[in-house]
């Protein structure tokens, strides 16, 4: 179960054995020794520093004062940038039809942390500036921070054309939920709320830009180099070819680094001054200005028949999308598709709404709204199981989706639906945990300590929802005999640099450690799409597989050997052995130096999806991944504190390309799920630092046991499915279900901090 144990030597798999091997991160050594640069690690000679001036108000008009006087009073400051310095379009957004966010606000700001100007100059001079001395005056306006306030009659309208501050809605409907619920033997209704959540990656936004003649080159942390490039060209009024984006190593993104942040500021400064320009956000600036997880307000009703089979579900979710669109439309679309969980639900209706407020823009954060909806759905399912008199795990197994059964969008999978296998994998631990908790609770006389266990499932579609999202991967062999992989899928720590290489190596038939990696540079790597939607292992992995196979075919054809031949790339030649047949390709005799390679292949893969109709029926994703988690915990009922004892996680990844990295994803996702459940709460103006905004520490994360489930997918490379976001989804509902099992109270307004758990217990005692 535990691949890559601590004391084992790191595996170095032979040709054809890369996939499935728990090799270490191929870029791990550079990260450990420090030779690999993160966004702030390199400052070019002669660089100026850039500092962004941001709004201290949620909603305000502003005017600039005497800029020349400010420059005169601050020697060392070379330049002040504002909206007037933007040659192209002062507007960006990850979904072009909804793009609405200015690089610099013009006359009015609509969230605290919004940029209005930037000062550029000598590093020390910029650092020494007291922001209060910057000549800008503010006139505050009424603001709204919740959807309820934003939808009241006298609320300010934040964007023209978005009536009632509604950005967009989403819906999926199937069967007749009203009828199904009406005839149900048991019904449960539940409302839940979740707050704004900060990504809190280790590395705040950092990078630098260099002007190279009529081109601008931007180095920095990002999850989407090619999207950054398009935005920058648009903002700066340059042709796409004039913009080069070179991702640095990235200390975590979790969705927020899909949107541009620092890039236009350093690019504009470097362009104007023709000097390199650097920036490194402070933690507080990062927290104030970048996207958040959507706060949610969700209501759900679920029913089942007398046998415990789900009948109908009615779901409504309101999401606070903040000041600008960012990924709000994606959340609105993804949630109704996923809000059923991985279960067979005959009558289904799910509506979502994204509402603008003066909060920071809500964007992408590991799961695009699904972790929020799963809390309501999985906690309601627990209550329903109890009403039906069924064990909570058995109830889920009874209703788990199987091959050939329609999803709530009417999609049918002939193979690869792995939720049953995940739930089955938890069964032994579930039974043992139930016994442990019962024994403990029977024996603790008067301590106030109670043990409880909880379970929750997840499913999650890999890739864009019914939209194209191709990845392209290039692989070539040089005359000298180097095999070079051009892999542009941003590795934000999750391991795409390693996993894509494992797939490409096996597809070509060479040892993975023999590959040379070229990664992350819009001049050198074709577009592998954004690192989001748990798509890189599946989509870029497929492109890598196709590219590797295409190159293999070329080699085999050249050597006139069969499919079964072994390839051995040597300096200047390729040796081929096919049974008793030996062949040799002299690389120096191949007269074809395209892209610097004598042999080369480039392949693109785009998942086969279909549009959703007006009821959300169709094929939103070509591949789903599945999972389930079991939480064991202890509640101190007199203090309301929760101590996690153990988490057992079973995730169906189709095929674990790298089992160690799968475990890493599971453990990291669970840590973030713990934060969502128990402590994280971003409040603009109040918790804008990691002192007041709490994320889990090592002391808050219990031992985690991973069960890697492999139910092969029909499409994914070697059967693989995505995993990155799935792992976070079940954790919070499983924790809440366990707290309820222990204490008798379900906390529905997250996070379940000690005071809320205790208040619920006191209230329960009053009513009980």
């Amino acid at each position: 179960m535990h691949a890559g144990g601590d004391n084992q030597a790191a595996p170095v798999p032979a040709r054809g054995e890369g996939v499935g091997s728990a090799i270490r991160h191929l870029d791990g050594r550079g990260k450990v020794t420090g030779s690999l640069n993160f966004g702030a690690d390199h400052v070019p000679d002669g660089a100026v520093a850039v500092r962004v001036i941001r709004s201290p108000h949620h909603h305000a008009r502003f005017t600039f004062g005497d800029r020349q006087a400010f420059l005169d009073a601050h020697p060392g400051i070379d330049l002040v940038l504002d909206a007037g310095d933007i040659a192209g379009r002062n507007c960006f957004g990850v979904i072009p039809p909804f793009a609405d966010q200015p690089v610099f606000a013009e006359g009015k700001v609509i969230f605290r942390g919004e940029a209005v100007a930037a000062i550029v100059g000598d590093v020390d001079a910029v650092k020494a500036i007291d922001e209060a001395s910057f000549p800008v005056s503010w006139e505050t306006l009424d603001h709204v921070l919740t959807p309820k306030e934003a939808q009241s009659a006298n609320a300010p309208r934040l964007h023209a054309g978005r009536e009632g501050n509604v950005l967009v809605g989403g819906r999926v409907e199937r069967g007749d939920p009203e009828k199904e619920l009406a005839k149900s033997a048991h019904r449960v209704s539940l409302s839940t709320t979740t707050p704004s959540i900060e990504h809190a990656y280790i590395e705040p936004e950092a990078g630098y830009a260099v002007r190279d003649g009529d081109r601008i080159v931007v180095h920095g942390c990002t999850q989407a180099a090619h999207m950054d490039r398009e935005s920058l060209a648009d903002i700066m009024g340059l042709a796409l070819e004039q913009v080069r984006v070179v991702p640095t190593a990235c200390g975590g993104g979790f969705g927020s680094k899909l949107d541009i942040s620092l890039q236009p500021y350093v690019a504009l400064a470097a362009w104007k001054l023709n000097r390199p320009a650097t920036i490194c956000y402070t933690r507080s600036e990062s927290m104030r200005s970048t996207t958040k997880r959507h706060p949610s307000d969700i209501s759900v009703t679920i029913g089942c028949d007398a046998d415990g089979r789900l009948t109908g579900m009615d779901f409504s979710g309101v999401f606070n999308t903040g000041a600008y669109a960012s990924w709000g439309p994606t959340v609105a679309n993804r949630v109704p598709v996923h809000a059923s969980g991985p279960y067979l639900v005959p009558g289904y209706r799910a509506h979502s709404l994204a509402i603008h407020t003066n909060a920071p823009p809500s964007g992408a954060f590991r799961g695009f709204g699904v972790p929020q909806s799963a809390i309501a759905q999985e906690c309601a399912l627990d209550l329903l199981a109890e009403k039906a008199g069924l064990d909570r795990l058995e109830f889920r197994l009874k209703n788990a989706l199987k091959n050939g059964e329609p999803t709530v969008t009417g999609q049918l999978f002939e193979k690869g639906v792995g939720i049953v296998e995940c739930l089955q994998a938890l069964k032994p631990a579930w039974q043992a945990a139930n016994e442990t908790a019962a024994t403990f609770n029977a024996s603790t006389n008067g301590s106030g300590l109670r043990k409880g266990i909880g379970v929750a499932s997840c499913w999650y579609g890999c890739g864009n929802t019914s939209l194209p999202n191709p990845s392209t991967i290039r692989i070539g062999i040089t005359a000298a005999g180097h095999v070079v992989l051009h892999q542009g899928a941003a590795d934000v720590g999750q391991g795409s640099n390693t996993v894509i290489a494992q797939i490409a190596a096996d597809a070509l038939g060479v040892p993975v450690h023999s590959l040379q990696l070229v990664g992350g540079d819009t001049d050198l790597t074709p577009d592998a799409g954004k690192t989001s939607a748990s798509r890189q292992t599946y989509v870029s992995g497929m492109a890598a597989k196709l590219a590797g196979e295409a190159l293999r075919s070329q080699v085999l054809r050249l050597g006139n050997v069969s499919e079964a031949a072994d390839i051995d790339v040597k300096p200047g030649r390729i040796g081929l052995s096919d049974g008793d047949v030996r062949a040799n390709i002299d690389l120096n005799k191949i007269d074809n130096a395209e892209n610097g390679y004598v042999l080369f292949a480039e392949e693109t893969y785009d998942p086969p999806t279909q549009p959703l109709d007006e009821n959300g029926q169709g094929v939103p994703y070509a591949v789903y991944g599945y999972g389930a988690q079991l939480v064991e915990l202890t509640v101190d009922t007199r203090l309301g504190t929760v101590t996690l004892d153990r988490i057992t996680a079973a995730h169906d990844v189709g095929k674990a390309i790298n089992p160690m990295l799968v475990e890493g994803q599971i453990e990291g996702g669970i840590a973030q799920g713990i934060g969502l459940a128990l402590m994280e709460d971003y409040q603009p103006g109040r918790t804008e630092n990691l002192h007041d905004y709490l994320i889990p520490t090592i002391g808050d994360v219990p031992p985690i046991e991973c069960h890697i489930v492999e139910v092969a997918d029909a499409l994914g490379p070697y059967g693989a499915k995505g995993l990155g976001e799935h792992v976070l989804i079940p954790t919070a509902p499983a924790i809440l279900n366990a707290i309820r099992h222990a204490s008798g109270v379900l906390v529905t307004n997250l996070p379940a901090t000690p005071d809320k758990v205790r208040a619920a217990i006191l209230e329960g005692a009053e009513h009980g």
């Binding site: 650092k127 020494a128 007291d130 402070t282 507080s284 007199r638 203090l639 309301g640 504190t641 128990l678 402590m679 709460d681 409040q683 109040r686 918790t687 002192h691 007041d692 709490l694 889990p696 520490t697 090592i698 002391g699 808050d700 901090t753 000690p754 005071d755 205790r758 208040a759 006191l762």
Partner: protein
């Protein structure tokens, strides 16, 4: 920016007499307090004043020097009445913080949620300041005046904390409540020290609560009630809401006031029971 790191106390005091300095020791409150800015005052780094490093004793006092860190406290050979302080030491920030942060820095920072103050209060700690003009000794309760306010006079440096051996008796405990395990500002914390007459009867009691008022509070009414009670009595049951009368907790991002009171009551009961168990 002016910066000095004297090696002799006299030199530090001369500098302090001549200007207004921000004093830097462990730095774990100092640097976050700058909020990404540069210091507004000259900085006097006292970490080279090695005379102030030790935890030691003489006939009358235990002494904790200004440079003694929380990790030093954990490692020091101290009697059981310091166990509460040691428990606090293990719960301040994280291990990295404990290796840097000083006990006296915690006192001088004067946060209402200073983890060190309640256990030091139960030990009857006295603050000893030095200045060119001479020494002063101020009981801890009178030294910490309010949120971020102390009775440190211009020109003074806190040299050590003195724990009188008359109050360094009995056993002690400490409970901290926060919303996560490490690196967390307390929602509430309770320190308790009890001593017995050797025949199972309590003859000294000191209980202090932090994070529920501007300055940590001693629960004097409860202390008086406990004196004379037997260790075998149901001491927890004696603790009543009225004993928390002097607390004035606030609602903030960490917890509502009502919860602070509710949880504090439970923590006091646990702390007293824990110490009684140790003494029995």
């Amino acid at each position: 920016m002016q910066f000095a790191r004297p090696e002799k106390i006299e030199d530090a005091l001369t500098l302090l007499r001549e200007g207004e300095w921000a004093i830097l020791a462990g730095g774990t409150d100092f640097y976050p307090g700058l909020r990404d800015g540069v210091p507004s005052r000259p900085v006097l780094d006292i970490t080279a004043l090695t005379d102030l490093q030790n935890i030691e004793q003489d006939a009358e006092y235990w002494s904790i020097g200004a440079l003694a860190t929380w990790s030093d406290v954990v490692r020091a050979d101290l009697p059981p009445c310091f166990d509460g302080l040691k428990r606090a030491a293990r719960e301040v920030g994280s291990v990295q913080i404990q290796n840097r942060a000083t006990v006296i820095g915690n006192v001088c920072n004067a946060s209402p949620a200073a983890d060190g103050v309640p256990p030091l209060m139960t030990l009857g700690a006295i603050v000893e300041t030095v200045a060119s003009s001479g020494k002063r000794r101020i009981p801890l309760q009178q030294f910490v005046l309010g949120n971020r306010q102390t009775d440190l006079h211009p020109g003074e440096l806190v040299a050590r904390l003195l724990i009188p051996k008359t109050s360094a008796v009995g056993a002690s405990s400490f409970f901290k409540l926060g919303a996560r395990k490490y690196l967390v500002i307390s929602i509430s914390m309770v320190a308790a020290r009890l001593a017995s007459d050797g025949e199972g009867r309590i003859n000294d009691a000191a209980i202090s609560i932090g994070a529920c008022s501007a300055v940590a509070c001693r629960l004097t009414a409860l202390e008086e009630l406990l004196k004379g009670k037997r260790l075998s009595d149901d001491l927890a049951a004696l603790v009543q809401r009225s004993h928390l009368g002097d607390l004035a907790p606030i609602d903030d991002v960490r917890a509502p006031a009502a919860y602070r009171l509710d949880a504090s009551l439970e923590l006091v009961r646990r702390a007293i029971s824990d110490v009684a168990r140790q003494l029995s």
